[in-house]
Amino acid sequence: METLFLIASIAGQRVALPAYHVESVVEMESVTPVPLVVPHIAGLFALRSRVLTVIDSLAALGLGRTPIGGLMQAVIVGCDGHPYALLVESVEDVVRAPRPQPPCAVLSPEWARAARGMIEHEGEPLLLIDPAALVAGPPAIAA
């Protein structure tokens, strides 16, 4: 059975997101910062009179931080009843692909937490990322 996936790029890698969770793809200009929250919450953004929480995907994976400013691509997903905007570097296409397979590479721990398998698109393997894992962010560092 084939399902739809959105291909985007995060941290210089092409990845797939399940299109079922994706509401839309937008360009954001101004993000209101939120002080005193976990680092992967980049701020708030208003879209059609809704307040979205912006997730810095890079920080959520624990791979650094995305500089905030200028036009930014974001994928809008809903998670537990709250809308989120996941920052991505670029969005390519929506593709149809067969059911995901377990990834055949040994993933680094950062990616392993967010990965839910692997899909194949035009002969290239793409890691399937779970938006909920990005929303949850990196595991809390024990104090």
Binding site: V34, L36, V38, V51, D80, H82, V135
Partner: protein, 788 residues
């Protein structure tokens, strides 16, 4: 589910809620036929519907109850406690069965026969049966998510939607035309209209969410009856203010806290009859539950005349439990001591009872109320009684808030938490450094100063550099001062919960989208207190002052210099904000001062001195429904005053005189101002119609008409349309009254002296006499029912 069945369940449940109270009242006054009839009607209706819907069990139960009640109605039987208990048990059972029908569960029918048997004359107390029968259903009842609305409201909403569509079309047309050229004005007008429609719609929709608090109170008589019977106490319940309206969700949210408070009052507060006699009190304890609206809040008071809470014993328990240090306890104020009842794990009850000792303490009550943005206040006089006040906001979703900013970031603070805003550098404000922290002294009162920047960024405080200090009162009673960079605007914000990751920060209460459509966070005042380490105990410093204050109730008041350079004061609670408006916005029209402001016209009051030529400073006041403005020269200070001492001789803008720092200061009378403001607002549409004969005389048109109109009447002149519906007629001199009009006539004359004994006409410049006569005749006519 079958529509008919759904209808039956909804209706039965609605009646059930109201009925429990009726049955209890009937027990207290068995001769009250009206109540008996209401109960009889209910069981009769249920019986009828059950036969129709084929629900044999319900039918059997209601039939048995109907028979018993019919006997009472026919005076064949006297109602006694056993019968009332049995009827209550049957009504409870009907409720359970109704719930079971809705959820599709099955209830064993073993007890039905016992319930029916208990109805028979001479049967034992049905209490045992009741308890046995109702205990399994103690779990949370699924709250029905449907509501009933008055058709009238639904019509209003539909009309509102039609208006909105029309306004939208108008806007669309203006936009289209606007592209061609002239643009501007038309679009703005159309947009105004659309905004107005949306505003009306919002009102109507929020009305659908409102319900009378009666739905909450109606369960109380039954609760009180059962509890006091179980505990062997005599309690008289007084319920007041059941017609106050509150958001439906909110009613559900305060149901448990209120029930708990009532349980506590009866179990721990009110003493047994013997104990009360020993204490010199009447054997019957009183419990008073009342609700009232104050601005944007609903206040629910629960007052009992029981033994109250002994603050000192509470402190002792807290010390024993290791929650408070002994030296800390010694410096606690009375109200701090009382607040200890909200501490988890503390209870003054000597023994745990089955009624309220269920592990749900006052800490849970407070947590529940605070979760919906409310507050719980407690006041106790040991031996004399306890008063608990729940303050809850009117609605959950729209809250009045103030926007503040720190550097470039904007935040909102709920208005209810703000006590006052002061500017650093004023005479009354002093900031000191103390042990790495900051203390703000505002008019001699010392409060911890928290820098919002430090809380947000975790840097050392720079609060002594912030321009604005906001005095806040958190839900837990902590008071502190928050340093921010600027205060911007007052807005009604639609607040939604923010994402869990944002809420986890602990200092935000939700996210909102203000007019500028940049998302903004609502600050959680208690959370900031926690984050900054402001402990509730720090209030101990000003404890002595509080003890003094308890002797006379002091109210915060705004002291200002009026336009005639006299210092006057007004209660702070009513002042919504202080604003500067251009003088051009104020105008004298139709005999009154009015102010065009924010797209509406407000009644403008002043002391009578001329308004300044360019810019007027006004106090915006709001009593929840009416808004008005009062022109002043400048704000001096916020002071605490006692009640007005010298009362004014006659009603007017001044209520009396109060002492401020030893000087007498006139107090404005908000009651009079709002009464006048309302009179102005309604007179145009709803005032009685006054027909003035002899329209050709310029005096009547230009002098008399405006006078009558200013007094709140609608004015028509002879020959005008609608004159035939006049409530009263004014005729000058000997002009004949209009034919065919059966209304009272007031005659005015131009001579000072009347012509004789039977001359009831009024001198035309006798304003008071004229207005009195108009009012008197209209009232007389209403009283006599149009007999003229």
């Amino acid at each position: 589910m079958d529509d008919l069945l759904g209808e039956f369940i909804a209706e039965t449940r609605e009646t059930l809620d109201a009925l429990a109270g009726e049955v209890v009242a009937w027990e207290a006054a068995p001769e009250d036929r009206a109540r008996l009839d209401a109960i009889f009607r209910f069981v009769h209706t249920v019986k009828g519907s059950c036969g129709f819907l084929d629900l044999p069990r319900l039918e059997r139960l209601s039939h048995a109850a109907e028979d018993a009640l019919a006997d009472v109605r026919a005076d064949r039987r006297k109602p006694d406690a056993a019968l009332v208990s049995a009827v209550l048990a049957v009504i409870d059972r009907i409720g359970e069965l109704t719930d079971a029908i809705e959820t599709g569960e099955s209830l064993s029918d073993g007890e039905d026969a016992m319930l029916i048997a208990a109805l028979a004359p001479g049967a034992g107390d049905a209490r045992a049966v009741t308890l046995a029968a109702s205990s399994p259903s103690a779990g949370p009842r699924a709250v029905s998510r449907s509501i009933r609305l008055p058709v009238e409201l639904l019509d209003r909403m539909m009309a509102g939607v039609s208006d909105m569509v029309l306004a939208r079309n108008e806007l669309a047309r203006s936009l289209r035309d606007g592209e061609g050229g002239d643009g501007g004005l038309g679009i703005e007008a159309a947009f105004e209209r659309l905004s107005q429609c949306i505003g009306e719609m919002r009102d109507a929709i929020s009305r659908t969410r409102m319900a009378r608090i009666d739905t909450l109170f109606s369960a109380l008589p039954r609760l009180v009856r059962d509890l006091s019977a179980d505990l062997g106490k005599l309690v008289c319940l007084e319920v007041e203010g059941g017609d106050v309206e509150l958001d439906r969700e909110m009613i559900e949210m305060i149901r448990d806290p209120l029930t708990h408070i009532v349980r506590n009052a009866i179990d721990h507060g009110i003493e047994s009859p013997e104990e009360r006699k020993r204490a010199g009190k009447p054997p019957v304890g009183r419990l008073r539950i009342s609700a009232r609206q104050a601005g944007n809040q609903i206040l629910i008071d629960a007052i009992d005349d029981g033994r109250g809470i002994d603050g000192d014993r509470l402190v002792q328990k807290a010390i024993d439990a290791g929650l408070v240090g002994a030296d800390q306890a010694a410096s606690m104020s009375w109200s701090r001591k009382l607040d200890l009842i909200f501490t988890a794990g503390l209870s003054t009850a000597r023994e745990v009872s089955a009624i309220s000792g269920r592990g749900v303490g006052m800490d849970v009550v407070r947590a529940n109320v605070e979760r919906i943005g409310g507050l719980v206040d407690v006041d106790s006089r040991p031996g004399a009684g306890l008063r608990l006040t729940l303050r809850v906001p009117l609605t959950l979703t729209i809250i009045p808030a103030l926007t503040i900013s720190l550097a470039e970031t904007y935040f909102a603070i709920p208005r209810s938490a703000i006590e006052e805003i002061v500017r650093r550098g004023g005479r009354a404000v002093r900031i000191d450094r103390m042990g790495g922290g900051l203390v703000a002294s505002i008019r001699g009162e010392r409060l911890p100063l928290v820098d919002l920047g430090a809380v947000l960024a975790g840097e050392p405080g720079r609060a002594d550099e912030r321009a604005i200090l906001v005095v806040l009162k958190a839900g837990g009673g902590e008071r502190y001062v928050l340093g921010v960079d600027a205060v911007h605007d007052h807005e009604e914000l639609v607040v939604k919960p923010a994402a869990p990751g944002v809420m986890a920060a602990g200092i935000y209460a939700g996210a909102t989208l203000p007019d500028n459509s940049r998302p903004m966070l609502l600050l959680d005042v208690s959370g900031i207190a926690d984050a900054a380490g402001v402990a509730a105990g720090e209030e101990a410093a000003d404890a002595p002052a509080e003890v003094d204050a308890a002797e006379e109730e002091l109210l915060p008041a705004l002291l200002f210099r009026d336009l005639d350079c006299v210092e006057r004061a007004i209660g702070l609670a009513l002042v919504e904000r202080i604003e500067d408006v251009p003088a051009a916005a104020a105008s004298r029209s139709a005999g009154r001062m009015r102010l065009a402001h924010d797209g509406r016209i407000l009644p403008l009051f002043g002391c009578g001195a001329p308004l300044p030529p360019d810019c007027i400073r006004i106090l915006r006041m709001n009593d929840g429904t009416t808004q008005l403005a009062y022109a002043i020269d400048s704000v001096i200070d916020i002071v605490s005053i006692g009640s007005a001492q010298g009362m004014a001789a006659e009603p007017g803008p001044i209520a009396g005189v109060a002492l401020v720092e030893g000087r007498p200061v006139e107090l404005l009378d908000p009651y009079w101002l709002f009464a006048e403001g309302v009179a102005q607002a309604v007179s145009r549409e709803t005032g009685p119609l006054c027909l003035i004969v002899d329209a050709s005389d310029p005096w009547t048109r230009q002098v008399l008409g405006p006078l009558v109109s200013a007094a709140g009447y609608r004015v028509a002149f002879q020959g005008d349309e609608g004159g035939a519906e006049a409530d009263v007629v004014i005729a000058t001199g000997s002009a004949p009254p209009p034919l065919g009009l059966a209304v009272p006539v007031v005659r005015i004359r131009s001579e000072v002296q009347g012509r004789g004994e039977d001359d009831d006409s009024i001198y035309r410049y006798d304003r008071t006499g004229l207005l009195d006569a108009l009012r008197y005749r209209i009232e007389a006519r209403r009283a006599s029912g149009r007999r003229y």
